[in-house]
Each structure stands twice: as C-alpha cells, then as structure tokens.
C-alpha cells in the first residue's frame, strides 16, 4: 500500500532523533553546527524555547523531540544543530533544529512512502507527511511548515504568558 503521491525533493538530509529517523529537504539546510551555548527563553513553548548565535544572527532553536513526544536526551558528542531556512506565515525565517546524530544526504527517488497511519501512532499524524522505507529503516518525513505554523499559533493563543496578570 505504497502511496507515491508525495514527491520528494532530490536530496534529503537524514538524521536520528529520540531513537527514530527523520529526513528533511536538503535544499533548505543552510549549515550543520555543533551545539553552541543555548539561551533559554522563559515563557516560550518547550518546542522552541532556546536561542543560539549562528554567526552573529540570533536563531530560534526547535526540538522536534518535543513535538513527537519523545524522551528528551541529553546533548551528547554527536548532537548537532541543523540550521534551516523555512517560511513561517510567509516570513522567511532561519531556524535551528536539534538532531541526536546527523546521518547523511540521501537520494530517495522511488522510495516507497506510506501515508501516516491514522491509528496506532504515538505522535500527531498531521505533523507527518509520510513514512519512507529507505536503507532498511523507517524514516519519518516531518511536515516542518505545519509544525512551525502550529507552534506560532500556540504562542499567539497563549498571548503574553510572562506578564503579570
């Protein structure tokens, strides 16, 4: 029951996080860094509560493990920040996402892709575009645009959470 309606970009960056494997469009990746000092933003949602300095630009740091409800692992030797360019509500934004280990850049042409199963998943199906079978692994294809938009919505709903009321 392969669903090949999803066309994948030519090259995908694969990485490991919380014991699962993810792949994102390599085209939107700007650079991959060792974890710099992280500044916590009080009051921000746990998914994106950090800021890092990427060559003089202040970039929000997102943790997909929070979105997918995975156990948070301490940063280890292999932990990396993948700096990507994404559009949030039409505004081009640079965002860092955490990865336990960056694997490789793979071509996933003709790889069978399953739609996210409606039941039996511990994470929210709308955040996943599909699950690819590649190199003997199940690789999650996260819908980053959807995840980021949802996160921004959540912040707007909560309003100024930090101000005394």
């Amino acid at each position: 029951m392969s669903d090949n309606t999803i066309t994948l970009p030519d090259r995908m960056l694969t990485f490991g996080l919380g014991g699962e494997f993810f792949a994102i469009d390599a085209q939107c990746v700007r650079e991959i860094l060792e974890v710099p000092p992280i500044t916590r933003v009080p009051g921000a949602p746990a998914f994106a509560d950090g800021l890092v300095n990427v060559r003089g630009a202040i970039v929000p740091l997102a943790d997909l493990a929070v979105v997918f409800g995975m156990a948070l692992t301490a940063h280890a030797e292999d932990t990396r920040v993948i700096v990507i360019e994404a559009e949030i509500e039409g505004e081009p934004t640079t965002i860092g996402i955490l990865a336990d280990k960056v694997l490789d850049v793979a071509t996933m042409d003709g790889v069978p892709i399953d739609a996210p199963p409606p039941v039996g998943m511990k994470w929210r199906p709308e955040f996943i575009r599909g699950i690819a079978h590649h190199a003997g692994r199940f690789i999650i294809l996260p819908d980053l645009a959807r995840i980021f938009t949802d996160c921004v919505d959540q912040i707007h709903r909560n309003g100024a959470a930090l101000l005394p009321s």
Partner: protein, 656 residues
Amino acid sequence: MSDNDPVAAFRIEAGELLESVERALLDLTEDAGNRALIDEVFRGLHTLKGSGSMFGFDALAGFTHHCETAFDRVRKGQAAASRGLIDVVLSALDYMQSLLDAGSDADAALVAAGDGILAALASAVSDAPAAAAPTPAVAKGWQVRFRLPPEAMVTGSNPLGLLDELRDLGDCTVTCRFEDVPALADLDPTECHAVWEVTLAGDISREDIEDVFVFVIDDMELEITSLAPEPSAGVAETAAAPTEAPRAAARQTAPAQESVRVQAERLDELMNRVGELVIAQSRLELIAAAGTIDAMTLRAVSEDIQRLSAELRDTSMALRMMPVSNLFGRFRRLIHDLAHETGKTIELVTEGEATEVDKTVIERLADPMIHVIRNSCDHGLEPADERAPAGKPAAGRIVLSARQAGGEVLIAIQDDGRGINRARVRAKAEAQGLIAPGATIGDGELLQMIFAPGFSTAAAITNLSGRGVGMDVVKRSIEALRGTIEIESIEGTGTTITLHLPLTLAIIECMLVRVGEGRYAIPLSAVEECLELPAAEVAGTSRRNFLDVRGDLVPYLRLRDSFASDHPADLYQKVVIVGQGRGRVGLVVDQIIGNTQTVIKSLSRFHGGVGAFSGATILGDGNVALILDVAALIGGAQKAQRARSERPAETAGEAA
C-alpha cells in the same frame, strides 16, 4: 524583489514623481499661477506617462495622459489652475498611486473609480474659463538666446536636438558664441560652454518656443525677445527661470521609503573604513602565519581593529539616519486636506527639518504624528469666528519642529488653538473611573489622562477624530520606539505635544543582569535606581509585592518566579527599579553584572509573542541575552495593581 527588477525601480521612481508633483501642486495653492510650478507639474505627469507605458502600466499611463492634457491646457493659458482643479488633480494622484500598487492587474472597479475623477477633471478644466489667460503672443519673429548648464551633456540633454526642434518651428539662423569657452588647458570637454543665438522667423508663439526647452528650463538661461517690439513680457520671462533653479533643487530631497538615499560621502567614508579593516586583517594573517606570536604586534593590530569596528559602527549608523524633512513633507498634504475638511484656514510652519533620525523611527512616526496633527487641527484650532474675539489671527497655525538634545530627538507639534480644557478632561476621567471624584491630581498627570484607552473629550465625533481610539495608540507607538510624550497646554493659547525619541534604535546602552542562570539586558534609559531587596521581602512570604522606596510604593516583580528559574537564588537579591513615562516597577534579579553596549536584534515569530522581551542581543562571549521589554512589564504590573485595587471594592459591594 530583486535589486535589478526594472518594474520595482519604476515603482520607486514613480512614487517619487508623484510626491514631487504633489509638492508642486501644494505650492501652487499658495502661489497660484506660478508658471514654473505649472511646468513642473506638467513635466512630472509627462514623465510618469512615458515611463508608465514603457513598463506596462497601461492603465496608469492612460489615466495620467488625461491629467497631463488638463495641465497642458493650464500651461497654454486655456484654463486656470484653480483651487478646484488642484484638488481634483491631488485626488487623481492618490488614484495613480493605487494604480501603481495594483500594477498591470488593475480590476474593473478600480478603473471605474478613475472615470469619476476624470469627469471631475474635465469639468474643473472647463469650469475654469481662462480668465487670466494671456492671448498667445504672436510676433513676426523671435530672437532666442540660451545657455545650457555646464553639466547638461552629462545629464543627457542634447543641444543639437534642441536646435533641431527650434528649426522645425520655422526658418531660423543659428549663431554659436564661444566667448565663455575657457582656454584649452582649463577646458573640460564633457561640459557645455557654448551660448546659442537663434533668430526664428515666422508666425510662432512664445509658448511654442518655451515648449522646446520644457525639460531643461530649470537650470538653463533662456532669453526670448520678440523681433517686433513686445512690451514687458520678455523681461518677466527671463527673470523666472534662474530663481526657480535653486527651489527646484531643494524640492528634490525626499527619497522613497522603500530605499534609502545615502550621501555619497558617507559611503566613501564607509569604504575607507572597510579598506583599513582589510589591511588590519592581512596584518593579523601575517602574525598568525609567523611561527612565534609577538604579543606587542598582536596588541597593536587588536587595537586597530577595535578602533575600526567602533568607527564602522558609527559610519553604518549614520547611513540609517534620515532628515525629518522626509516626514514633515508628508504632512503638508495632510494639513491641506484637513483645512478643506474642517473649513479652517491652517498654516503649517516647519522648523529644524535637517535634524536626522533613524530611518525606522521616521517610518514608524508617521502614523502617530498624523493622529496628533489631526487632533490639533480638529480639536485644538478654533473656527475662525472664535479666533477673532480671542485676538488671534484668523489662520490657525501648526508648528512642527525637530531638534536634537543629547541622545534624544525632540519632535514637537504645536498649535495656537484653544488648549486642553482641564475641567472637561477631569470630568471625563472621573466619569470613566480613571481618577476618584474630587481627588487631587497634578496638572501633568491630569493631562496624561488623554492617553488613557477610550478617552475622548470631543463633544461630537467628527470625521477626523473623537472616536476615543488614538491617543493611547499614539502613546503606545511612541513607547514602542522607546520614546516618551510630553504635553504642555495653556488654555486659550494652545497646546504643544513633544515626542522624545532615541536617536537610534539599533544600538542601545543596557544594564546586564543575571536571573538564575540566564543573563538579561535592561535598557539603561529605563533604569532609575538599583537597591538591595530588603530582608523582610526576600522570604517572599508576604502576598503584597510592594517596596517602600523613600515613601513611594513601587510594585515589584520577582523575575526568578516569572522566568521559572530553578537555579538556587543568590543570598542578596537586587532590585532594579525601571520607569517609563509615569509607571515604575522593581525587577528582582540575582546579580547586576554591569553596563554594556548592545546591538538589538528582533525576535523571530516563535518568541516575539512571549511578551516580556523586546529583542535579543549577542554578548561579548558570543552568548545570546534577551532584552527586557520595560514598557510591557510596567503595563502588566499596573494592570495587576488595578485589578487588585478593584477586587476589595467589589467584595465590599457584595457584602452591602
């Protein structure tokens, strides 16, 4: 938008053209019949039409053509530049701007809106019979003498083309005079030094000859004398052109808002600094390449780089500065429209237009200032019949002034109207529960009431203002720019609203504090004092979060709690008292680290909505620190305070 996009460049240029036509039209209202201004309007419209059709803005070009035709009639003296015509053309300019924004896909509704304006235009031109129209002066022939500005060839004017056009008018003899051509050693071959004398024979009107020169007339010398004796006119014409030149030059100073015009010398300065930086960098490379590092040489390079980066910072900051004349210029049209709507005569005076302010500040000041000016015109200035008994001239006066004072720019909006009626403000404030009835309150504090949300003393809501939205928005916009507002008002004499704004937004002096493990920056301009948290408060058991600062009760906020810090608290907690406008709040922190210069970076959409932070900055060690939003913290504390003070009253009411 790509940098080389010709359509985008056209939009910017067209915007500037519209602005300059608008300015000329407004000048024309004050100096009706000024030939040079009429020509300027015509030229602007003509250029807009031409380049509009070149870039595919056909609707715009077509529409502009009609306006151009109308103004052509004015030029030829077939119609007068009446007040009515100018108003129609002003509204036509607004319409052109919307056509420009719509681009090639102007829809039917928009096009239909244009037809209405065209109809008004047609009637304005025909309604205004050419009472003042001079009968076209026709003579047997003309003696034309002209000299182009030296840089004419560089700017693309071609004297031969002009001569050809003259030749097309009729038989002519051309004499070229070389008296002013310098000696060969001093000759710059790109400059035009020749003077031409042309004798034109035939039945030609003066206007036809002037038309030939219409695109260069501002900077050139042109004398047209009739071969047949024609009294007076020739003298008057020659006088007009040279005096017009400097005025036209002064008028071309307003740049488009999308792009910044930078003075060439500032760019040169920047390039020099960058050049020096490259040299310093190569010296550094040499040191790094050498086997052993010489501490002395390294220190010298480090000092150089430190000096250069400070200079680079200052020069690049200067690039962002724009004169406030850009801002003030926009209000002329506003005042013109307001005078029209209110039926008052309003005179606008501007002072200190050369004062420079950060580009962002200028952009964000426009809306709040429009509001204040509207208020001044609508509520402040009295109708003419009320002004006479008060011994004031019939024309109301609005003065916009700007000046720099220390690290601040002061922009004042002053009117000579009736002033703020304290009794009415008081009554309204009491009615809205902002102050207790009969409470004693300082005059300054009372005037600040007009900034309260929903506050309006206007007896009737007019088209202009009085809906009670606005002054609080003005106050918030100014505070968002880290500025403050001050009001002075003398009843019967007038009101002055002064905006205090920081010179620049990009770099601010901050106090760096530590809360738990995190470091935060507080804008130093907001810091009033620092004290130690009294031992009685440290325990944090008491419910009331107020400090007694020399008799004043100041609410305070434990940032450790707000930021949910689990790092052990320092033994001696410090309070940083911050204030803005009239509000004060104490922020309890673990440690005061010191002062630092910070470059403000805005937060992404993820964190912009958190509320307590206005931005972030990078510290000397490369880490990121958040900048506290003092205005939001104070606002929050005040809201909390009001909520607390209302609660006992409610319970008392229930008990009764």
